[in-house]
């Protein structure tokens, strides 16, 4: 064997070893890879000058109370505080006397959920027509829903990281190639464990392990299929996806009809959108059960006004008796970190 041949043979051995080590170190094991959710919040398209809210932001409970009851000292608890709490906990679609400021821009993050381009649809900031995101239209001009310091933006998102109750994850199986694969299976589970973090305790690291919660979380499990194109996973819609979302120790959920994931995949992270139609009543009660009127006030969120807007802007799943839409299109920004899923 000549020296060149020996060199080539050695090179092949080295490449084989590297390839083998790489396969052994790959986070894709036996055609499966898992990701655990670390961030989730309603996708709100914001411009630096808030051009999408040309008339400003909505009043919250404090501001509304002052306008409704300027001489509250002459009134009773029933005529003031409880009147507002009744409106909050027994919401209706009748006007409340306050103009609701909704998003007036044309741009929004999100997906084209219905496959159509209609007059109420947004345009994607990076191009693309027919974006369905009426939750954005409703909450986009409410301070509490806007980043980086809105009360909901901070605390609802933080709860995803902190609370095991919210520990949702996906496992993608039947994966041949994480860059392009025309058919994969996606399972939605709840994990049971704390997240693996770096030494600061703040940054979630890939490589952690999550046991599947088959005890209390069995009813949350969903399966769908999807495909990966240029490292972007797109799933088929899931009929009703339940997302546990506890903020201040009130276990509650969101329900998304026809929910789908669009995620940029790497072996360490999955980031993108969870989109679908949010059940309006579940959306509303999750918000007000976790956040009292006090907490909502800090974000100038009037539950009373928001409920009316959500119902008015709801665009899917009509009630079988009244014909009124009871679900509203939405998209949420989602970030996930790779984990090994232990069955």
């Amino acid at each position: 064997m000549g020296r060149v041949s020996i060199f080539i043979a050695n090179l092949l051995v080295v490449l084989l070893c590297i390839s083998s080590a790489s396969a052994q170190n790959s986070r894709l094991k036996d055609g499966a890879i898992g990701f655990v959710m670390t961030d989730l919040f309603w996708s709100v398209y914001q411009t630096p000058a808030a051009e999408e809210c040309p008339r400003g932001f909505n009043d919250g409970p404090r501001e509304q109370f002052e306008k409704l009851f300027p001489a509250h000292e002459f009134l009773s608890v029933e005529e003031t505080q409880l009147k507002q709490e009744i409106e909050t906990w027994h919401p209706n679609t009748e006007p409340d006397g306050f103009e609701f400021l909704q998003v007036e821009g044309d741009l929004s993050w999100g997906l084209n959920l219905d496959g159509e381009v209609g007059p109420n649809d947004f345009t994607h900031p990076e191009g693309g027509e027919g974006i369905d995101n009426e939750v954005y239209r409703a909450v986009g001009c409410i301070i509490g829903f806007r980043g980086p310091d809105g009360v909901e933006y901070i605390f609802q998102n933080k709860a995803i990281l902190d609370r095991r109750y919210n520990r949702m994850m996906i496992e993608i199986t039947e994966v041949d190639d994480l860059t392009n694969d025309d058919s994969v299976k996606v399972t939605w589970y709840r994990g049971m464990d704390r997240l693996l973090t770096d030494a600061t305790g703040q940054k979630v690291m890939p490589g952690g392990t999550q046991r599947v919660d088959y005890r209390w979380g069995r009813s949350l499990i969903r399966e769908t299929t999807g495909k990966i194109v240029d490292s972007v996973l797109t799933t088929e819609p899931i009929g009703d996806l339940v997302v546990p979302w506890m903020n201040l120790s009130v276990p509650s959920t969101h329900i998304f009809r026809d929910a789908r994931l669009q995620l940029n995949l790497s072996e360490e992270n999955a980031t993108g959108l969870l989109a679908g139609y949010a059940d309006v009543d579940t959306f509303y009660y999750q918000l007000i059960r976790n956040d009292s009127t006090h907490h909502l006030s800090n974000g100038q969120i009037s539950g009373i006004s928001l409920y009316k807007a959500l119902r008015r802007l709801a665009d899917a799943h009509p009630d079988s008796e009244t014909g009124e839409n009871m679900a509203i299109s939405t998209a949420l920004d989602i970030k996930m970190t790779q984990v090994f899923v232990r069955q």
Binding site: G60, P61, R62, F65, H72, E73, F74, L75, S76, V77, E78, T80, Q81, L82, Q84, E85, I86, W89, H90, R163, R164, Y165, R190, D193, R194, R215, W216, G217, S219, L220, V242, P244, M246, L248, S249, V250, P251, S252, T253, Y285, R289, N290, S292, T293, H294, S297
Partner: protein, 413 residues
């Protein structure tokens, strides 16, 4: 303890101090609320005969100065919380002292906290006015029963919960016992102690009462309580955990179990843990209510104003309340198992207790003398849609689910 007081054992709170007549003693510690303080600064009584008429604005966003409801029927703090009066020649002993009220009357105090009884307590052992259970932030400034220090060795604590008085370490780790153990022998050997760590006693520890010692090896002594060696579970993920009790043979340790539940009730699995449910698996809720007044009077009992509850459960309508927050009706052949869980007769159109036999009256289940409820939007077993309904996540005028297992919300039981 001065003459005229005694210790009474209660169903839920364990031993409590009481008057000679058996009325439980309460204190009202100062508590920080959102916009100020309520309760009593040590040494200074704040519960008097004045009938307060305005809100205090202690909880945002609603301002102070709003007229409180039903002023014509409103009672004073002292009407509902009679001060424990001391004789002029009462002798102070240790932490038991007297404080002069503004009218010159002497009131008993413990550790400088003025003492009261509750009009809700009817017989010795009743602790219906307040609880030692941790109500956590944003609850009203509750009254707390006065309890003697528990007979525990250093390093242990008791956590009052809905399922009993749980024995823990003083760092809130749950303590467990193993069925195969005896007082003089541990069956947890070889690899077992790496998962179940024996709770070791210091060198000077001695047997005392229900507490004894097991020598595992020379110089290594394990605490034993009521004949069972004690362990902690290294895989517990939070304080006051019940996770270890999922392992066959292992149990949490309680100094006192909660009173027996009504026979028709069951434990229901939900996505957030185990909850108490009726025979059909529907979640059972408790109603909590405290006014935004400086005296923080309760409004969660049928004898108290119903204005708050009616607003929350039915937008002011009793009929709607019965639809949204139905009472848990007792079966005709059911009877009260204890003082904590009782069947009472209620007029569903007023929310007030009435004498049995009235035509419209309902026999309903009560917990600590307050009705418990179902929630109209719960449709299937395991639904907990009512939890946190109402003001301040259900803590000040609303519903909270009756949790029995709280793996996802450590410490709320």
């Amino acid at each position: 303890m001065p003459p005229g007081f005694q210790v009474v054992v209660s169903d839920l709170e364990g031993p409590v101090f009481a008057t000679a007549a058996g009325k439980t003693l309460y204190k009202w510690p100062l508590q920080i609320l959102r916009n100020g303080y309520s309760g009593e600064t040590p040494g200074i009584p704040a519960c008097y005969e004045d009938v307060l008429t305005e809100t205090a604005g202690l909880m945002s966003p609603y301002p102070a100065g709003i007229k409180l409801p039903e002023l014509d029927k409103r009672q004073s703090c002292a009407d509902l919380w009679p001060p424990v009066v001391a004789d002029e020649d009462a002798e102070t002993i240790g932490k038991w002292t007297t404080i002069e009220r503004r009218d010159g009357i002497l009131q008993w105090a413990f550790d400088e906290q003025p003492l009261y009884t509750s009009v809700r307590d009817m017989q010795p052992g009743d602790v219906l006015g307040g609880t030692t259970r941790n109500s956590r932030g944003d609850s009203p400034a509750y009254r707390v029963p006065l309890t003697p220090p528990p007979m525990l060795p250093p390093g242990f604590a008791i956590k009052p919960t809905s399922i009993g008085r749980m024995l823990t370490t003083d760092t809130n780790q749950a303590v467990y016992s193993y069925a195969a153990d005896t007082e003089s022998d541990s069956a947890c050997n070889e690899s077992c102690p790496s998962r179940w760590e024996p709770v070791l006693a210091p060198g000077l520890a001695r047997d005392q009462g229900e507490w004894t010692l097991l020598e595992r090896s020379p110089g290594e002594r394990q605490w034993v309580f009521r004949g069972k060696p004690l362990y902690t579970h290294v895989l517990d993920t939070g304080s006051w955990s019940q996770e270890g009790s999922d392992v066959p043979g292992w149990d949490n340790v309680f100094t006192q179990r909660a009173p027996e539940l009504p026979e028709s009730f069951k434990v229901q699995l939900t996505i957030a843990g185990n909850v108490l449910a009726d025979a059909n698996g529907r979640t059972i809720y408790r109603y909590f209510c405290g006014e935004d007044s400086q005296d923080q009077l309760n409004c969660d009992h049928p004898a108290e104003t119903q204005v708050y509850r009616l607003a929350m459960c039915g937008a002011g309508s009793q009929e709607k309340c019965l639809e949204y927050w139905p009472y848990v009706v007792a079966g005709a052949d059911e009877s009260s198992p204890n003082r904590t869980w009782q069947i009472k007769t209620i007029d569903p159109m007023t929310g007030r207790y009435v004498a049995a036999g009235e035509e419209t009256a309902l026999r309903v289940w009560t917990y600590r003398d307050r009705p418990v409820y179902l929630f109209g939007r719960d449709k299937a077993p395991g639904d907990v849609n009512g939890g946190g309904t109402g003001e301040w996540r259900g803590k000040r005028n609303g519903l909270r689910a009756f949790w029995l297992r709280d793996d996802f919300m450590s410490g709320i039981l």
